[in-house]
């Protein structure tokens, strides 16, 4: 168990290096000049050259990469080209907000997903199953950017029940677990939750249907075990796969919130990336992609380890 654990931790190092290399190359190879983020188009040549020197953009790319990696290892992801603030501070402040949103969305999505999946799997083929499946497919297919705007029109503009944007009455720094701030979380979290809800519903339903068809379930019933205990056995067997799917979905929520955050002006990593892309703010792009990728790797590690604990078969292999 501990060797498995250790091996998985060690894998993180080459993965991180590869991820950072890809981040760096993609961002530098894409069209657009990094200087566009720093100086206005009016700026004369000497001003552009001066700023290039100040930021180190005039050095060869391998040197820039090496410098960036060595600084990143010390926790310094550089300075934003657009506003000069430290990238590390910006990314982690935004990450905190995205995590809040992702956790809220996963809470809604996973709870509903597991419930619907279990119901549909147990009453397979019934009207309930068909309704639930239809709902899940709808959740996965609907473009959540559009859904977000629709929810805003209904609940903010027409009914005036919930706010249409932002993280709270003051700012995200003042965030507290109280109604004034939670009401800003509702619409974006619901919007973001439909896809994971759909995916988890489908997965759980399929797993439950498969497990129920296994011989051991019939055997347990024949033994005279109460239905509730059989139910617990089913849940334990579905759990590893469901957990893996949920872990992946949480990862996608972290990276895939870009459109929802833009619609709701939610100050998370998605909005940060969106703005950095338009401004060609390369340090922010590199730093944010790296942090999100590392988070994803870490999440996968945790899910793998949890799976190993839940399912003894994985430990032994």
């Amino acid at each position: 168990m501990s060797t498995y654990f250790l091996k998985r931790i060690l894998y993180v190092v080459p993965i991180t290096l590869a991820v950072s290399f890809f981040c760096f190359s993609l961002v530098h190879l894409s069209p657009g000049d990094p200087m566009d983020a720093v100086v206005s188009a009016d700026a004369p040549r000497e001003v552009v050259a001066m700023v290039e020197r100040a930021y180190g953009f005039d050095r060869p790319l391998p040197e820039q990469f090496a410098l960036w990696v060595s600084r990143a290892l010390q926790g310094d992801l550089g300075l934003s080209a657009a506003n000069g603030r430290a990238v590390t501070a910006e990314v982690f402040a935004a990450l905190k907000n995205t995590l809040l949103l992702a956790l809220a969305a996963s809470l809604i999505g996973f709870t509903l997903g597991c419930t619907f999946g279990l119901l549909a799997g147990y009453w397979q083929g019934s009207l309930l199953d068909r309704l639930v499946t239809g709902f899940a497919v709808g959740g996965v297919s609907v473009p959540h950017y559009w859904l977000g705007m629709l929810l805003v029109i209904v609940f903010s503009v027409e009914l005036n029940w919930l706010p249409s944007s932002g993280a709270g009455p003051g700012s995200s720094n003042d965030w507290a677990f109280e109604w004034a701030y939670l009401r800003h979380l509702i619409l974006p979290a619901v919007t973001l939750s439909v896809i994971p809800m759909g995916v988890v519903t489908r997965t759980v339903r399929a797993m439950v249907a498969e497990i129920l068809a296994h011989e051991f379930v019939e055997a347990l019933r024949a033994k005279g075990l109460a239905e509730k205990r059989v139910f617990l056995h089913v849940v334990k067997n579905v759990a590893p796969t469901a957990l893996a799917v949920m872990g992946l979905q949480l990862g996608y929520l972290l990276g895939g919130s870009i459109l929802v955050e833009t619609v709701f002006s939610w100050p998370g990593t998605g909005l940060l990336l969106n703005n950095a892309i338009f401004q060609r703010d390369l340090p922010i792009l590199q730093g944010t992609i790296l942090v999100l990728a590392l988070f994803f790797v870490l999440l996968n590690l945790i899910v793998d380890l949890a799976q190993a604990r839940l399912d003894p078969r994985i430990q032994r292999s």
């Binding site: 069209p31 657009g32 000049d33 566009d36 720093v38 100086v39 206005s40 188009a41 009016d42 700026a43 004369p44 040549r45 001003v47 552009v48 001066m50 700023v51 100040a54 657009a82 506003n83 000069g84 603030r85 910006e90 705007m149 805003v152 029109i153 903010s156 503009v157 005036n160 029940w161 919930l162 706010p163 249409s164 944007s165 932002g166 993280a167 009455p169 003051g170 700012s171 995200s172 720094n173 109604w179 004034a180 009401r183 509730k228 617990l232 833009t262 619609v263 709701f264 002006s265 100050p267 909005l271 940060l272 969106n274 703005n275 338009f278 401004q279 060609r280």
Partner: protein, 542 residues
């Protein structure tokens, strides 16, 4: 056993849900308390607050002329007159009669920065060093990058006495005062007190302007409050507090206004305006120095080199139809400036909708429906001042096709189109296009004409994207630039402009009207004919 617990939990959840839903229904939406004006900007971040803002003119509008002043400010008091210059931190200025490169400025006395320190020539020179002297401790590359391109004439500066400074320009340039409107002054004392750190200064800035910045949450909110000791007693703000919120997504701004989360939005989506009006929102608009053209390439191989083709294009566009398409939110253009402007002149060629005449001219040059002119234009999908680029360009494409000009698009995003402007038509990033569709402001003659039409402004020096090279243009512009008498200068510029319209130098299409939407309780706003606006007279009616 487990089931009992689940059932109990569900009962509790049902109760909690009932309470929550009723609270939601009963609770009022977040409304403004008293005299607070919440403004949603199109910028994606709070513009730089240290003195020289970024984010273009919106930066100057909200974090430039609010917190700071220039030596010479814009007069933003009238909605009907052309917006001109007015004394700011300088009481008066004059050009030397013998050497017209030398300007002497008399500074205003009795002005203090928000931190209480005094405004004087030392503070002025300190700020000039901040932008021009790379060796000075206060030099800030970012602020320098933002503003130096806007003051091309600057050569030297010096202090004469405590309230007098002197500038020397590279060449005699009558337009130098216009350029100085972009140079804003931050407090040296505050910078020193904060340890000489521009990042700390950005959070606690100090200028001389009518507003003080009291809170900055990067990317989310900036709070401005009145400066009760402002040197112009008539412009002390009426509002208690302004909150600036970045909201780059147009639909988000519309929803925020309609759900009363903000009081004022910049650049509403035109198709949302009827809905906003039906909900009682006020929509303000006023033509201002803005132009939406096609800038033609004059390089070898460009079909626009033929004057018949240029005139035909100008006669082929149905500007009234385009105005209807935009819900009335534009003014048809017949030149760079509007016909009511002193620089318009009296051209002979009438820019109008006359497709038959267009076809006749094209036929003269051997073009027609079976031999159309094939041209390509660079356009963007959005961008500051670009209005509705996709819809407008497709409309123009149809108009031109009807007379025998086949227009093709190269679509770029705004962040790619704007830098390409300085690189020019020959650059690979122009993808062989014969025209570019970029809008701009024409607040002064350099911005309006010189940087596009003078041969010395060909890339990389300026924005003469199409390599325009006309000796008569050069002569008139050079003459205007050294004519220090305003009326005489206006007359020369009028002659130049009329000539340019007669040449059909560009495709003139539209002028924007700068729509803004606000809650009906927002009063006092006077929309000047300018890219910048004065927020000091605005108040909330209780």
């Amino acid at each position: 056993m487990v089931y009992k617990k689940i059932a109990a939990a569900l009962r509790q959840a049902r109760r909690a849900a009932a309470v929550t839903i009723s609270l939601t229904v009963l609770s009022m939406p977040a409304m403004a308390d008293g005299q607070v004006l919440r403004i949603a900007m199109t910028a994606s971040d709070i513009p730089l607050t240290t003195g020289q803002p970024d984010s273009g003119f919106e930066g100057y509008r909200f974090l430039g002329y609010t917190v700071y002043d220039a030596l010479i400010n814009w007069d933003l008091s009238s909605a009907d007159e052309v917006s001109g210059l007015t004394p700011g931190l300088a009481e008066s200025w004059e050009v030397d009669e013998e050497d017209t490169r030398v300007w002497t400025f008399t500074l205003r006395q009795g002005v203090s920065f928000h931190d209480g320190s005094e405004w004087n020539a030392d503070a002025a020179i300190w700020n000039l060093d901040k932008v021009y002297d790379e060796e000075s401790p206060q030099f800030d590359a970012r602020q320098a990058g933002n503003v130096r391109g806007r003051i091309p004439a600057m050569d030297q500066y010096e202090k004469v006495d405590d309230y007098t400074i002197r500038f020397t320009t590279r060449e005699p340039d009558a337009w130098f005062p216009y350029q100085l409107t972009f140079l804003l002054f931050s407090s040296p004392a505050q910078w020193e007190a904060l340890g000489g750190d521009w990042d700390a200064f950005a959070r606690e800035p100090s200028g001389t302007g009518p507003f003080r910045l009291t809170r900055l949450v990067p990317r989310e909110r900036a709070v401005l409050e009145p400066n009760a000791d402002y040197w112009d007693a008539e412009r002390v703000p009426r509002i208690e507090r302004i909150e600036l919120i970045p909201m780059p997504e147009s639909s988000t701004r519309t929803s925020a206004l309609l759900s009363d989360q903000v009081d004022w939005i910049e650049t509403p989506a035109p198709d949302a305006i009827p809905r906003m009006e039906s909900r009682g929102m006020s929509i303000t608009s006023n033509p201002y120095p803005h132009t939406w053209p096609y800038q033609f390439s004059m390089l070898e191989g460009s079909p626009w080199r033929d004057i018949n083709v240029r005139k035909a294009a100008n006669l082929a566009v149905d500007r009234e139809g385009l105005e209807a398409l935009l819900g009335g939110l534009m003014v048809p253009a017949a030149g760079i400036v509007t016909p009511d402007h002193p620089w318009y002149g009296e051209p002979e060629f009438e820019t109008r909708y006359d497709p038959e005449e267009a076809m006749r001219l094209l036929a003269e040059s051997g073009y027609g429906p079976d031999n159309p002119v094939e041209v390509k234009v660079l356009i963007s999908t959005s961008g500051s001042g670009q209005m509705q680029p996709l819809a407008m360009n497709e409309y123009i494409q149809q108009n031109l096709a009807e007379v025998g000009i086949a227009l093709d698009f190269e679509v770029l995003d705004w962040e790619s189109l704007f830098p390409n402007w300085r690189r020019g038509a020959e650059d690979p990033s122009s993808r062989g296009a014969h025209a570019t569709n970029i809008t701009f402001g024409w607040l002064d003659p350099f911005a309006a004409f010189y940087r596009f039409m003078h041969s010395s402004m060909a890339p990389p020096n300026g924005f003469n994207w199409g390599y325009m090279d006309d000796p008569e243009y050069d002569r008139l512009l050079d003459e205007a630039r050294v004519t220090f008498d305003q009326e005489a200068q206006d007359a020369i510029l009028a002659e130049f402009h009329a000539r340019m319209v007669d040449d059909a130098a560009w495709l003139w299409v539209a002028h924007d009207v700068g729509p803004r939407a606000m809650q009906p309780r927002v009063k006092g706003f006077v929309q000047a004919k300018n890219w910048f606006q004065d927020l000091t007279p605005v108040y909330i009616e209780e």
